[in-house]
């Protein structure tokens, strides 16, 4: 079983090596897709293995996969398949340096996997910093000043944020008073939560969450996100919005579990609820006046991360299971939307919302899934996001967080109106039919992702055990 953990770490490295060896070969675009598919398979395999015989440990306890890590691995794999397969640039649009591009994508996948399987807190920190490093040149790979500006802000803010998280990690290790050879692991922190120094743990938890929240794009540390996600090429935006944010959020969940066990849930509840509501408010304030559709999608990511933070603040089985399912639903839909946005900008030559009109008539192959995906992002039934959002709100009300939930509902409505208005302006209206429908295998991942997110809400029953086991890995019900 231990070999299963090592596969998602070594395969991307191998694939990256091949990519660097053939820097100009178009076929190297297949390499990260293979890594992503392997990641998905390993994730599913580990979910089954963990359910059968408990957490899997490898490399002398440095790596450990429990139900939560396995679930996240599978989610990252699934979303990455959609983003990379659907977002693969056509031959005429792909750059000369396609091999290095795919090599960086592979390294990025490897870094995310490492963050998810690391049991050592410091190692997880190193992996999360690596995700910034591997994506820096991917964000900067667009043309002109804008992508450089976006990449600069992304790396500076990402690095500073994650550095603050390192302060948290160091203090957490000080709070545990451990001097063992491998440092502090999540397992040992959870096991000895009661003996942690409370004052130190509080400060450490707050700093770590603050730092990782920068990476997760939670307000008020979100200012880099719309720039980076709108300037990066389509598959990169899809991966960053769809799963990188969630990987950072996974780190927050782990920190929350430890601090909750050590000093009670009030601190994290306040922090996450504030950040969540603020993220919703920021999105609500800015979607109405947005003029760039890739930025619109980026702001929608801030909204969904805010929703996840609110869910985590509520806690309890229902809310946490909904949060984990929402990560999958949002990831699938958002990566699809960024892939579609990339195709729309290729077809129309603009990022501006008012530059695109009557998409349903002009390019129904783009307009129809774009509209459907928007419905998914806004939480229309039958998409899974509808069920998870309702579950989070209901859980909040049953836990006595009445006014916070009411405020969240109002903000969600404003976001709903804002995004719906912008996307309807793009898709409805008159227009002349244009050619350019992509081949079937480029349409397939879009269809699969939308179909999956649509049936997932009804078909979630078989997943219930998996999700509850993942919630259990966070220390169970609080």
């Amino acid at each position: 079983m231990a070999a299963l953990i090592l596969l998602p770490l070594t395969l991307p490295l191998l694939m990256a090596g091949i990519g660097f060896l053939f820097p100009r070969a178009y076929w190297t675009l297949a390499l990260p897709i293979i890594s992503a598919a392997a990641l998905l398979a390993v994730g599913v395999g580990l979910i089954i293995a963990v359910q059968a015989s408990g957490p899997v440990v490898a490399v002398a306890g440095w790596l450990r996969v429990d139900a939560l890590s396995a679930w996240m691995l599978a989610v990252v794999g699934a979303v990455a398949v959609v983003a990379l397969w659907g977002g693969a640039p056509v031959r005429s649009k792909s750059k000369a340096s396609v091999g290095s591009f795919t090599a960086l994508l592979n390294l990025f996948l490897g870094a995310m996997s490492l963050a998810l399987v690391a049991d050592n807190v410091g190692l997880m920190w190193v992996a999360i910093e690596l995700t910034t490093i591997t994506t820096a040149f991917l964000v900067a790979s667009g043309e002109g000043r804008n992508s450089l500006e976006a990449a600069w802000k992304y790396v500076v803010l990402g690095a500073v944020g994650v550095a603050i998280a390192f302060l948290g990690v160091a203090l957490l290790s000080a709070a545990s008073g451990s001097h063992s050879e491998t440092g502090v692991s999540w397992t040992s922190l959870m096991a000895h939560a009661a003996t942690l120094d409370p004052a130190m743990t509080k400060l450490a938890g707050a700093l770590a969450v603050l730092g990782f929240a920068t990476k997760a794009g939670l307000a008020p540390m979100h200012s880099w996100l719309p720039d980076a996600h709108s300037q990066a090429p389509a598959p990169v935006s899809g991966l960053m919005s769809g799963v990188l944010l969630s990987v950072a959020f996974y780190a927050i969940l782990r920190i929350q579990a430890v601090t909750d066990a050590a000093v009670g849930p009030e601190l994290m509840r306040t922090l996450l609820m504030t950040a969540g509501l603020l993220s919703l408010a920021v999105t609500a304030g800015l979607v109405l006046t947005q003029s760039d559709y890739k930025r619109l999608l980026a702001y929608s990511s801030i909204e969904h991360m805010g929703l996840l933070a609110i869910g985590a603040a509520i806690g309890g089985e229902l809310a946490m299971a909904a949060v984990l399912l929402h990560i999958l639903g949002h990831g699938l839909i958002k990566s699809t939307m960024f892939v579609l946005a990339g195709r729309i900008s290729d077809a129309s030559g603009t990022h501006r919302i008012d530059g695109v009109q009557g998409l349903l008539r002009v390019r129904p192959d783009l307009g129809a899934p774009f509209l459907l995906g928007t419905a998914g992002l806004l939480g229309f039934p039958p998409f899974v996001t509808f069920f998870t959002e309702v579950a989070i709100i209901v859980a909040g009300f049953t836990r006595g967080l009445g006014w916070q939930m009411a405020l969240a509902c109002v903000l969600l409505l404003v976001v709903f109106a804002g995004i719906a208005r912008q996307v309807l302006a793009m898709t409805l209206g008159a227009g002349v039919r244009e050619q350019g429908r992509p081949v079937w295998w480029r349409r397939l991942p879009i269809g699969l992702a939308l179909l999956t997110s649509a049936v997932l809400g009804f078909a979630a029953w078989p997943l219930a055990g998996t999700l509850l086991a993942a919630v259990g890995a966070l220390g169970g019900v609080r």
């Binding site: 440095w62 050592n120 410091g122 190692l123 920190w125 190193v126 910093e129 690596l130 910034t132 490093i133 820096a136 040149f137 900067a140 000043r145 804008n146 450089l148 500006e149 976006a150 990449a151 600069w152 802000k153 790396v155 500076v156 690095a159 500073v160 550095a163 603050i164 390192f166 302060l167 990690v169 160091a170 203090l171 290790s173 000080a174 001097h179 050879e181 491998t182 440092g183 004052a199 130190m200 400060l203 719309p226 720039d227 709108s230 300037q231 800015l286 006046t289 947005q290 930025r295």
Partner: protein, 219 residues
């Protein structure tokens, strides 16, 4: 190492750390600021060795060596190279006057001591007592990021911040395991190298590296 020598060494190294950071806020020359960064790195290595050796950790010398090579040789050299490539040796005209900058720095150091006191508590360990120095380094790094406009100084600010975090981690927990230290150092090095590449690209595209001019992207 006797308790007294230990106390002296901790006081000296943390003193140098704080002094160099303040001088960086004060000065305007990029080259001198990078030089101060190298001194700061050496002081950090000294602190890592002192604390590790005192705690009887077998890897103390190795960790200190890594810190010394990284923070006082490799990183300053990389910064110096970026500065040479862009031809920037002095800070761009600032938004604040130098007196305000220094008063701000003094205020932040004060805040660091106020914030740090509950962490120190009544712990008599001199390493714990010096913890506020690390916090003030973090805050001074932030201060540099805020008040300076040249992209190179932004990098210096980031590294001061990082030195502060390393100081806190050495003082509070006598460091993390060697593997994590190595990984973290490598990460910081890569971040600085990447940002160095961006600075040079920025210089080539717009003829300067003033980050306040980065305002194409907004809502």
């Amino acid at each position: 190492m006797s308790q007294e020598v230990f106390q002296q060494l901790v006081a000296t190294t943390t003193g140098v750390l704080l002094l160099t950071a303040i001088l960086q806020v004060w000065g305007r020359s990029l080259v001198r600021s990078i030089g101060l960064l190298a001194v700061q790195g050496a002081a950090l290595a000294g602190l890592a060795f002192t604390v590790g050796f005192h705690a009887g950790e077998p890897q103390a010398t190795l960790v200190a060596l890594i810190v010394l090579v990284m923070k006082s040789a490799v990183l300053p050299a990389a910064l110096l190279r970026s500065a040479r490539l862009t031809g920037e040796t002095r800070e761009r005209p600032a938004a604040l006057n130098p007196a305000v900058e220094l008063i701000g720095a003094a205020g932040l150091t004060l805040i660091a001591y106020i914030v740090g006191t509950p962490l120190v508590g009544d712990n008599p360990d001199p390493a714990r007592q010096a913890l506020p120095v690390g916090i003030s380094l973090v805050l001074l790094g932030f201060w540099l990021l805020l008040i300076r406009r040249s992209a190179i100084t932004q990098l210096i600010g980031f590294l001061v911040l990082d030195n502060g975090i390393a100081t806190v981690s050495f003082l509070a927990s006598s460091g993390l395991p060697l593997t994590v230290e190595l990984g973290a150092s490598l990460d910081v090095l890569l971040v600085v190298l990447i940002l160095g590449v961006f600075v040079v690209r920025m210089q080539r595209q717009q003829g300067h590296s003033d980050i306040t001019e980065l305002k194409e992207l907004h809502d």
